[in-house]
Amino acid sequence: MAELHIIGQIIGASGFPQSSLFCKWGVHTGGAWRLLSGLREGQTQVDFPQTGEMAYWSQPVDLHYTTKGLQGWPKLHVQVWHQDSFGRCELYGYGYCHIPSSPGHHRLQCVTWRPLGSWQEQLAQMFVGGGPQLRSPDLIYSGADRYRLHTVAMGVVEVELGIILRHFDRYGIES
């Protein structure tokens, strides 16, 4: 009956080539976890920062889980998208991070990456936008032989989470 409460926000992103960004996010858990309340995925608004290059979303995350096991600790995965001046959206980065397992306030920085694609694709991307995307976005948080993927480092998504653990000590888990 251990409970994990995740309350916080996805603050924003910085370090991307363009600043008008939005983010699709989700929380992935293993089979032992049950969502008690809250939305486990969502999409933020598009932020066009007037000053500075950091895009702020302040997207609230309010999730309440209960679990019967530790396997599959929740992971937050994000996809950062960019909306260009024509209103088109293109992928800017994938990233994920584990929900902290210690209680308290955490400020996480989730780095992101983007598939590079062939040179033709890169060229096309430069002129007409778009870009390679993963066929299966599950790869963001699942470990496959990822070294074969050519990627480019993109910016950082900042996440601020407050973690409350409950009754984990009953099952011998110190927190």
Binding site: M1, G38, T66, L134, R135, R148
Partner: protein, 1710 residues
């Protein structure tokens, strides 16, 4: 600076000349100095006037000096040059002084003349203004540097001068004008000064002191000084502006050489010398001596000169000009200069140290390590040999590459340091780490082919996508699912007729067509097929017969043989038909070919390449004949057999019929006998039997005729005839036509002129095809020329990437002649099924034709023009241009063989979750997951990719389901150790109440929606929380009949509940769909004026409005979103203002004498009798004069508040009542507020005070003397949901009053004649004026904007959307409704609901002669169906419209269902009726019915059966938005919307905007209503039973409500009342009151009676109880009170029940 050297020369020359002239014109200058002084003084004067800028003045003065100097020079030059110039100059000299303004011009011209005289005409004559406008720099640049052989300075000088002159002139002209204004005497004095200079100087000197005597002369002087200093600066600046001329050195030399023989120190000395002087001057010395002046100029001059020399040295020439003048005319002013920054500065030349010297100096300070190699001995400690570790075999690693020079430098430097040796290794080299750079890159290059990458790692390039919202876009587009692509292949077209066809072409086309037909028939070869089948069948029959030897045929075999025979018959007929067709076709082909041949012969040329060969296939005559004969024989025998069989059958039939007829005859005879018997006996049973028998016999059977025997010979004859007609004659060769295009076409040259023209015309034509997708041109083919055989080949494929749903694909064929293009035809191509893919799709031949009329004057037959093949012009033909377009439309296949076709389903996009785009659950709903069939269907429809790992689970599930058995999966489990490490099992987790509560709340299960504060501790969650929920789950199927009294109603309630649930679930999803406006609250930008509320403009206007404190206005309140509210925050504000026409008390007769009155006739007037009586009963009736004392009691949510008591039938309370509101579960969300079912009851009571009778007074000594009683008069019910939706309700409402109020009467009861008159409505009933609102104002919930499934035409939907939007824009407060949602959640066009439907027959039969009464009855019937607002049942969802039969089955509905039903009834009764969509009080948006009757309009309120005239003031309908009937919708576009002020003539397009107009005609929408309504007869017994039950329940309830008093029932009275109620029902509650009263009066003379009948539609028992309770009859607390209660349930068809409850309280008066 090419001119510098020239200028330098010139300067030198000038200098020399000047020196000479200095001596020569000594006296002249003297005079000039005085002049300058004059000018200076002038300027001073001007300054005093404060009108001239100081700098300007000074500059002017300087310039004046220069001017004079220059003139001198010019004079000199004049000697050298032409005489004329000099003359002019001299002339001017004089003139200039007189008129400065003109001088400038003259000077310019003078300069020009000089230039011209020299033959230099480049300088263009300049006008005065031009010259003035020019800047100095410009003009100097303009001058081309002239190399001059002659030593002359004239050019540059003249230009300089010119500039200076211009400057001067500008300044002077200004000054002049000023001077002329101020000192008009001045010019005169100047003139004087020219004439005699001596006097002038004196005059000047005299004027000066005068000036100084001006009160602030001192300051003016100081000002003057300042001015000068400034002027110096100006001069410098001015000088700077001029193009730089000599270098600094030269200037320096120049000055030192000429004027400054003394060394440098001299000026400084002088300066020192001068300072005291200047101090002196400053000290206030007024008089400045002339002698000093003599000394000073020298200094002054140098001073002025030095400055430019130091700093800019540019204008030395000018300076030099000045210099001479300054020496002399500086006099007083100039030496006043005190300190200026120049005084402290001196010029030094730049210091320079030679390179060598510097290097030397630097070398002393700096260390430069040498680049030479350091000998090893230096680097090693003494006496050490270098040791090479590498040589010793030790690994040393590779040294990084460093250039030798760098190494040497480093070593040298290190050696100079302390402990230098520690940096060196044993080998005498600097110690280094091995080279860290790896040879190869760590990350090896990946040489992989895209294919062998792990599928999950593969990336796909996606274009930047635009998000789409509109519903017309396909789902999934723009998402990762990719685009859809349609391939349109336009292959080509063939004309079957074209205007340019010649006659031969026409025939050729026909031939080709026939041949095609022939080929296709041959290909199918139906004849052969059928012949084979026939013989096969025959063989089978023969075999069967043979097998059994003709005997012992079993039943089954016989049956089968019969079947076969039947088959043979059919097949034979079919074969014959086919054969006939074949033959006819062949004949036709031959005929046409012959025509062609004839035509070719006739016209003597060939146009078409067609050639027909008829191949003969010879046959063996004998065998053919044999076959033929055999065939005929077989057929004949079959036919004979058939006809014989037929005959036999007929014979047996005949026999049977004959038999029947005979028996009938017998029966009839018997019957006749019986009838005779029956006439004698009266027995009813007999009667029935007789009826039966009569029915049985029915009509008389005709006597059958015996059948004829078949004519066998005739059969054979027929067969032979037929064979001859349709079959080849035996032995005739088989003809096989072959059409070839081998015929030669006659070349052009040999053709007649007309044909030649035609061919030429053909060549001019070209065609192209436009491809239109959804009526938008997307592409077009190339233009191709029309060939002589009228075929055009395009062969182009267009790939259309689409994002819109394909609605239509159209191909337009265009023909181009020259430059003009005409559209020939339009071909619609069907949108392909998603399964039709490129590659597999077959090309289609789409026929097209055009009705264009084309005529030609050549051989072309034209189109739509009659022509004939015959010479005489008979047998005319008219052909239209037509042809076949072969094309193919299919869905493209993507790179990876994925069809780019959209999924079939129009499934509305659910919530697009952030990451998963195709979610099964989102698509079919969670409930669908349990339904395997549904899931399977979905999987098939959405073309799930079975290879997609995303779908693996679903695919497996499906395979398991379809396989029927669960196989052991051969998968491997990723989290296999999970079980071992689990903390606890699922069951334990499920047991947690807290978690369950949390989850249920999240799932928004009805009971827990909006539940707040889930406790943190498990034990704090009580089990009770789930009780309701579990009970509901458990009780799901059990129908509780007790609650509903009626099994049918219970079922209906259950059904309603289910519908509600499903609808609510459907909308729960939609509720989470947000629009921008839901999330972002944006204040409206204030606008000035404009349409709508010009916020700012209006407010500005308001500011100007006079304040009128006595006329307060309602302010717009701020709306509160229902989020942060809690209990007690919301208040209901009721303002009860006044009431009209409250019934008044009727004096009650309590004397026995009254009883006798009952015996009187009804005609006797009551009032007269009573008036006398009331006077008599003074004691009993203490408040006799008071007619009525009404007060209002408001009940809401168990809160009861009442107003004070007013008096009279038209009371005025004007009281405010505040009721607090609490939402269910404390949930103040919009949804919950909308579903609040509470009603506000506003009851009007009469307060009656009775004095307690004497006897009782005796008993209660010292107690009460009066007894207050309240009598219910009527009530108004307003549901909270209405108030919530409307936010305020303001108006006069009709009070619901019982038709009979015992003891009360209307004050002025004008008895109506039942006609449709206005007076009646005015007087009937009481009215109350109310104002109700919620404080604070809440934002009403919005209806769901979900797009629903629909079966409507897209076009209609679009039009309706547009119509509604347009209406909304023009009249935002008029409701407009075009589409509604039916009970299945589908969008339905509203007119489909209107259809004439039959009302129950018995209603029509009730009063067949009075149509008006029938209408009223029908309206009452409709109003008896209980009303159940949708917004309550479907919380915050939307209005659902059920059809009339659904409505009658459910027996519950909203206003619109009532209105639709009523409207349909009226229509079927032949009335003109419309549905009104409008707003009314208190319902808000509602539906009424409008009828047109006797040239006037009536408005019917369907919920209570009332009707109002158009001009009725108390009509609750306030706004009329639109009218609807079965085939159109009209929107009100009149200025007003109140029914009273509008015209109902819908034909006037000025007033009513129709939906279907000429532009968009009515497409003939079928109705959703049933053909007719079937009514069930209501069980009378059940009604009686119900009646008893209700009565019993009410009795119990009343007793229950009076716990402290005994409740006595007056049986006698009750029974009287019970008898009365049916009468009331029949009369519809009218006209019986008086009679009834009389009746009662007679019975209950000794009682004071107050009571009334209530009338309610029946739905459930609870509302009846509520209604009874609200009347408060039970509250009478007199001890001697008795009650009477009667209930009557009147059944109407279809279980519509009208419940009447009569309640009375009786008090014995004696």
């Amino acid at each position: 600076m090419a001119s510098t050297s020239d200028i330098r020369d010139k300067l030198r020359q000038k200098r020399r000349a000047f020196q000479e002239s200095l001596v020569r014109v000594r006296d002249d200058t003297q005079a000039l100095v005085s002049m300058a002084m004059d000018v200076n003084r002038d300027s001073a004067m001007e300054d005093l006037a404060g009108e001239e800028e100081p700098a300007e003045t000074l500059r002017r003065s300087l310039k004046a000096q220069r001017q004079r100097r220059k003139k001198k020079l010019l004079e000199e030059m004049a000697v050298e040059e032409s005489q004329t110039g000099a003359d002019e100059e001299e002339m001017e000299d004089g003139e200039e002084e007189e008129d400065v303004e003109t001088s400038a011009v003259e000077e310019v011209s003078e300069v020009q003349s000089i230039q011209q005289s020299r033959g230099r005409s480049e300088t263009e004559p300049e006008t005065e203004s031009e010259a003035a406008a020019r800047s100095f720099t410009r003009s100097s640049r303009d001058l081309p540097p002239l190399p001059m052989s002659r030593p002359s300075s004239s050019i540059s000088e003249s230009s300089m001068r010119q500039r200076m002159r211009e400057k001067l002139r500008a300044a002077r002209s200004k000054a002049e004008s000023l001077l002329q204004q101020e000192v008009p005497v001045e010019p005169a004095s100047r003139l004087q000064s020219l004439r005699d200079r001596d006097t002038l100087t004196r005059f000047d000197r005299e004027t000066e002191p005068e000036l100084r005597h001006v009160p602030d002369g001192d300051s003016s002087e100081i000002l003057g000084k300042v001015k000068f200093r400034e002027a110096v600066r100006r001069v410098r600046i001015d000088a700077q502006r001029e193009a730089g001329i000599p270098t600094g050195e030269e200037a320096y030399n120049f000055f030192t050489f000429n004027f400054d023989p003394e060394p440098e120190e001299e000026p400084s000395k002088r300066r020192k010398k001068r300072r005291p002087k200047s101090e002196q001057a400053e000290g206030g010395q007024e008089e400045e001596g002339e002698g000093e002046g003599e000394e000073e100029p020298e200094e002054q001059e140098r001073e002025v000169e030095r400055e430019p020399a130091r700093e800019d040295d540019e204008e030395e020439e000018e300076e030099r000009d000045e210099e001479a003048a300054l020496v002399r005319d500086g006099e007083e002013d100039l030496f006043l200069i005190e300190q200026s920054s120049q005084d402290f500065l001196e010029v030094r030349k730049a210091e320079y140290i030679g390179y060598n010297r510097r290097v030397q100096r630097e070398s002393e300070l700096l260390f430069t390590p040498s680049v030479r190699t350091v000998p090893a001995s230096n680097k090693l400690p003494d006496n050490m040999q270098p040791r090479y570790l590498e040589e010793e075999g030790l690994y040393v690693g590779e040294r990084p590459v460093v250039s030798l020079t760098n190494e040497n430098i480093l070593e040298n430097r290190i050696l100079r340091q302390d402990q230098a040796t520690k940096w060196f290794g044993d080998d005498g080299r600097i110690i280094v780490l091995p080279d860290p750079i790896k040879e190869s890159s760590t990350r090896p290059p990946l040489f992989h082919v895209e294919g062998d990458l792990d599928p999950s790692l593969q990336t796909v390039y996606r274009k930047a996508i635009k998000s789409k919202y509109a519903k017309r876009y396909m789902p999934g587009v723009g998402d990762t699912q990719g685009d859809y692509q349609l391939d349109v292949d336009v292959a080509g077209l063939i004309f079957s007729h074209h205007g340019l066809f010649s006659r031969e072409h026409v025939l050729g086309a026909r031939l080709a067509q026939l041949y095609d037909q022939h080929l296709s028939r041959q290909h199918k070869n139906l004849t052969r097929l059928l012949t084979d089948k026939l013989s096969g069948l025959r063989n089978t029959i023969r075999n069967m017969l043979e097998l059994h030897g003709g005997q012992g045929l079993s039943e089954i075999t016989q049956q089968r043989i019969a079947e076969y025979k039947q088959e043979v018959k059919i097949t034979r007929q079919m074969r014959d038909a086919e054969q006939e067709k074949d033959r006819a076709l062949l004949k036709n082909i031959v005929k046409v070919w012959k025509e062609i041949k004839a035509l070719r012969e006739f016209q003597r040329f060939t146009n078409t390449p067609f050639k027909l060969y008829l191949r003969r296939e010879e046959v063996d005559r004998a065998s053919d004949e044999r076959e033929h004969e055999a065939e005929i024989l077989a057929e004949v025998s079959e036919l004979q057999a058939e006809s014989w069989e037929d005959y036999e059958k007929k014979v047996t039939e005949y026999k049977q019929q004959n038999e029947e007829w005979k028996t009938w005859k017998k029966k009839q005879k018997a019957m006749k006998k019986k009838k005779k018997k029956k006439q004698q006996s009266q027995d009813e049973e007999e009667d029935e039997v007789e009826e039966e028998s009569e029915e049985e016999l029915g009509e008389e059977p005709t006597k059958p005729d015996p059948p004829e025997e078949p004519d066998l010979d005739a059969v054979e004859r027929q067969v032979r005839e037929k064979a001859a007609r349709i079959r080849r004659k035996p032995g005739e060769p088989i003809l096989v036509p072959e059409l070839t295009a081998s015929s030669n076409i006659t070349p052009n040259e040999q053709c007649p002129r007309a044909e030649f023209g035609r061919r030429q015309d053909v060549l001019k034509r070209s065609l192209f095809v436009k491809v239109l997708y959804n009526d938008k041109e997307v592409s077009r083919t190339d233009s191709r020329a029309l060939t002589a055989d009228f075929r055009v080949h395009f062969g182009q494929i267009f790939n259309l990437k689409i994002i819109n749903w394909p609605e239509s694909i159209k191909l337009q064929v265009y023909e181009t002649v020259g430059s003009s293009t005409t559209q020939l035809a339009e071909v619609f191509v069907p949108v392909p099924e998603p399964s039709i893919l490129t590659g597999s799709a077959t090309s289609e031949q789409l026929e097209f034709s055009s009705n264009q009329r084309v005529t030609f004057n050549h051989e072309g037959v034209g189109s739509d023009v009659p022509f004939s093949f015959e010479a005489d012009g008979s047998n005319r033909l008219t052909l239209l241009t037509s042809g076949k377009l072969s094309c193919c439309v299919s869905w493209a296949i993507g790179e990876d063989d994925i069809p780019l076709a959209p999924p079939m389903t129009h499934a509305s996009a659910g919530i697009n979750s952030g990451i998963m785009q195709m979610d099964a659950i989102a698509c079919i709903g969670a409930s669908g997951l349990n339904d395997m069939k549904k899931l399977g269907k979905w999987a098939a429809e959405s073309r799930l990719d079975p290879n997609d790992p995303n779908n693996a689970s679903i695919m497996q599930l499906l395979s398991v389901v379809s396989g029927g058995e669960v196989t052991v999966p051969d998968y491997f489990r990723l989290e296999q150790l999970q079980e071992e490490f689990n903390f606890l099992s699922d069951e334990e987790l499920d047991r947690s109440r807290r978690f369950r509560l949390l989850r249920l709340r999240t799932q928004e299960v009805a009971e827990f929606r909006g539940y707040k504060f889930v406790p943190t501790l498990e034990r704090e969650v009580s089990e009770k929380v789930f009780q309701d929920y579990e009970k509901r789950l458990r009780d799901g199927e059990i129908v509780d009949t007790k609650e509903h009294l009626d099994a049918h109603r219970a079922l209906v309630a259950k059904y309603l509940q289910k519908v509600r649930e499903s609808v609510v679930n459907r909308f729960l999803i939609a509720k989470h769909h947000f629009l921008l406006s839901d999330v972002v609250l944006e204040e409206e930008v204030p606008t000035i004026g404009g349409p709508g509320a010009g916020v700012l403009g209006l407010n500005l206007f308001k500011l100007a409005e006079p304040k009128r404190p006595l006329k307060p206005r309602r302010k717009e309140r701020k709306k509160v979103t229902a989020q942060n509210l809690s209990d007690g925050d919301i208040k209901l504000l009721l303002n009860i203002i006044r009431a009209y026409d409250i019934p008044i008390r009727k004096p009650q007769a309590s004397k026995p004498s009254v009883a006798s009155k009952s015996t009187r006739s009804v005609t006797e007037t009551f009032t007269t009798g009573h008036s006398s009586q009331t006077a008599m009963q003074g004691t009993d009736w203490p408040f006799n004069q008071v007619l009525v004392r009404p007060f209002v009691e408001v009940t809401f949510q168990r809160t009861v508040l009442q107003t004070s008591t007013a008096e009279g039938p038209n009371p005025c309370w004007n009281e405010e009542i505040l009721l607090s509101f609490s939402a269910p579960n404390g949930d103040y969300s919009t949804t919950s507020l909308q579903s609040v079912k509470d009603e506000v009851f506003i009851n009007i009571f009469d307060e009656v005070v009775y004095e307690i009778s004497e006897a009782e007074r005796e008993r209660e000594r010292g107690g009460l003397y009066a007894h207050v009683e309240r009598h219910w008069l009527g009530c108004v019910k307003i549901p909270f949901s209405t108030i919530y939706r409307q936010s305020r309700i303001d108006g006069t409402f009709k009070v619901e009053m019982p038709p009979v109020l015992l003891g009360y009467t209307k004050e002025n009861h004008l008895v109506s004649d039942g006609g449709y008159d206005i007076v009646r409505n005015l007087t009937e009933g009481a009215f109350i004026t109310l104002f109700i609102t919620i404080e604070p104002q809440l934002v009403p919930g919005e209806t769901i904007r979900e797009k629903f499934d629909t079966e409507e035409d897209e076009r209609v939907l679009l039009a309706s959307e547009f119509f509604e939007k347009d209406a909304m824009q023009r009249f935002p407060d008029r409701p407009c409704l075009t589409t509604v949602i039916d009970i299945n959640g589908k969008t339905v066009f509203i007119t489909r609901y209107i259809r004439p439907l039959n009302p129950p027959q018995e209603l029509l039969d009730a009063s067949p002669n009075n149509p008006q009464e029938t209408m009223e009855l029908v309206a009452r019937y409709v109003s008896l169906i209980p009303s159940l607002p949708d917004s309550v049942s479907f919380a915050g969802v939307c209005d659902l419209w059920s059809t009339c039969n659904q409505f009658l089955t459910l027996l519950a509905g909203d206003e619109e269902e009532h209105a639709v039903l009523l409207c349909n009834y009226f229509l079927s009764m032949g009335k003109k009726a419309w549905l009104i969509i409008g707003t009314a009080i208190p319902e808000g948006l509602t539906a009424y019915v409008l009828t047109y009757e006797q040239s006037r309009y009536l408005i019917w309120n369907p919920s209570n059966g009332q009707y109002y005239g158009q001009y009725d003031t108390f009509c609750p309908l306030q706004t009329i938005g639109c009218l609807i009937n079965a085939d159109n919708i009209w929107f009100n576009i009149q200025m007003y919307d109140a029914p009273m002020r509008i015209s109902f003539d819908v034909t006037k397009s000025k007033f009513w905007k129709p939906f279907f107009s000429r532009a968009f005609s009515y497409p003939g929408l079928s109705s959703v209503q049933p053909e007719e309504l079937v009514y069930r007869r209501t069980d009378k017994a059940a009604a009686t039973e119900l009646q008893d039950r209700i009565e019993k329940i009410l009795r119990e309830k009343i007793m229950e409500w009076r716990p402290r008093h005994p409740t006595r029932w007056n049986r006698y009275c009750s029974s009287t009342l019970r008898h009365f109620l049916p009468k009331l029902e029949l009369s519809g509650g009218r006209d019986v009151a008086e009679e009834h009263r009389l009746e009662l009066q007679s019975l209950l003379g000794e009682y004071r009676i107050s009571g009334f009948p209530l009338h309610l539609p029946f739905s459930e028992i609870q509302p009846i109880i509520e209604a009874v309770y609200s009347t408060g009859v039970h509250k009478v607390e007199m001890s001697n009170v008795e009650f009477a209660l009667a209930v009557y349930v009147h059944p109407y068809p279809n279980n519509v029940l009208s419940v009447r409850v009569y309640l009375a309280s009786l008090i014995r008066t004696r």
